[in-house]
Amino acid sequence: MALDTAWVLAQVGEAGPTSLTLELLTEARNVATKVAAISWGPHVAAAAATLGQYGAGTVYDAGDIGDALPGVPIAAAMASLVDAGNRPDAIFFPASYDGRDIAGRLSAKLDRPVLTNVVGMRSADGHLETEHALFGGTHIALARFTEDPPHLYVVRAKSFTAEALEGGSAPEVVSLAVPDTGSLAAARITGRHEEERSGPALDEAAVVVSGGRGLGGAEHYAMIEELARLLNGAPGASRAIVDAGWVPYSHQVGQTGKTVKPTVYIACGISGATQHMVGMKGSKNIIAVNKDREAPIFSIADLGIVGDVHKVLPALIDALRSRN
């Protein structure tokens, strides 16, 4: 027996719903009969049809929240919907910055726990059992709530495959009032900075080339970018070199960065901390280049080259250039 109703926190930008939003809508309709999307911002109306195609029968639109961070106002809007008697069985949040903020706020407002790092789920007897990746993905736990719904879940990217419904219909769009939360919502965005990107997005690219400490210095990251460009891929990075300031955070692959599942992942000078591996171990094929034979990355590599990135990568770049 499926759940009756599931809500999905739908993040919608100028380009439409995020891929994780569509993954959540797809999985929500697999486990629940009715699916509603909760969304906000200036682009909801334009994205409503897409949300419907992926399973949302209803779209709750909290409207444009301006320069406020969404955590407080959107959680307050959701809480008032629940308090008004609208009680879903499950609420799915994307494991994104804003998704986690809203989940945490709502959890405390409703005094309901939240299960995080969900990577799989199944419904049985009207209950949802969820799979969780623990300790950097080395262990999988099965968990369930022991009280009545609504139940809150934060779901990791790329745990499910997004699929549009055939002949999905336009959802009903209902405007959702945002209660006044006073000083709680006092944080304001005063400037937005986006990193420039020329190739495919890191979490959508078929090929990802990532660099780590083994590169030896920020100036050598250019090899990673060039190799990614030649393979029509995206350049990625380990947390170590992001923290060291060599490359922007938006390049980070791992638990606190992006989750990627490309056709090919090429790890260059990356030892393979669990923090990193959880973000890329789902790649279809993994190539690793590292001078340390004992590096953990080799334990999951389909092809491992024990060697110096400063010799192997230039040779690879030259060979690819001569083919093009």
């Binding site: 955590g71 923290d243 606190t256």
Partner: protein
């Protein structure tokens, strides 16, 4: 009266480099062994020390751990924190993120801090929700995923990471801010710091001291059960070869085989 009061949430965890011990009865992480300061929290401690480094400023660590564990707190005190509050009670076993937030909120409230700093997520549990739950319980605004933090009068200015870059965010104090690794470079405790830490005060509190009921926290308050923990299907290693000058050609051949080129 101190000028600036900062609270840092400091988690003490089993050494993450060691294989995790799972309790067979509850399927939760066994935390009864030696604990260390979560490396993720060393950034918050350093940030706090930089923001509240004046003679009249005060950096208070707040932690929840079994068996009165203070080893990790001593590390942070040796870095320069003023004092620590530890909540240790057998009834806290099995607490989830919300239960932890309730305990920390009760311990932090009487301190009336100007700023509460936490890591974006712990290394062992990494739910990433506790600091925001804490902010809601304290009735404070929050800014998460800070890669830069500065105080300007009664406002905290944060560079907050986003999927595509970062946002500048301003928030009036008091507030809760979560920091990423890399926000600052944590100092190593000096010998002098380690010696000084031995005599710094650590208040050890129980649930009763905080006026919390056992049913609200611990396993009962978590209202969830882990039914099974198993090792994830391991990816097996493929071919590992020493680069003898042919490494690049091996990669090319593999990419061709995969029809990527």
């Amino acid at each position: 009266m101190p000028d600036m009061k900062v609270v840092v949430c400091a988690k003490q965890i089993p050494d993450p480099a060691a294989p995790p011990l799972i309790r067979p009865d509850t399927h939760t992480l066994d935390r009864t062994g030696k604990l260390i300061l979560d490396d993720s929290d060393s950034y918050g401690v350093e940030m706090a020390l930089q923001l509240a480094g004046g003679a009249d400023d005060e950096v208070t660590l707040v932690s929840m751990a079994p068996n009165g564990e203070t080893a990790g707190l001593r590390t942070a005190l040796a870095m320069g924190a003023t004092r620590a509050v530890l909540i240790s009670d057998d009834a806290l076993l099995g607490s989830d993120a919300l239960g932890t937030a309730k305990v920390l909120a009760a311990a932090i409230r009487p301190i009336q801090p100007d700023l509460v700093i936490a890591a974006t997520e712990s290394t062992d549990g990494y739910t990433g929700t506790m600091p925001v739950q804490l902010a809601e319980l304290l009735g404070l605004p929050s800014v998460t995923f800070a890669k830069g933090v500065a105080i300007d009068g009664s406002t905290v200015k944060v560079q907050r990471q986003t999927e595509a870059g970062y946002d500048d965010v301003e928030c009036p104090l008091p507030a809760v801010v979560t920091v990423t690794a890399g926000v600052v470079e944590p100092r190593y405790p000096s010998f002098k710091g380690i010696m000084a830490a031995r005599s710094k005060p650590i208040d050890v509190l129980t649930l009763a001291d905080l006026g919390l009921a056992p049913a609200d926290v611990g396993a009962a308050g978590a209202r969830q059960e882990v039914t099974q923990v198993s090792e994830a299907e391991a990816r097996t290693a493929g071919e590992i070869v020493e680069d003898d000058g042919e490494g690049a050609q091996r990669i090319l051949a593999f990419l061709e085989q995969l029809k990527v080129i």
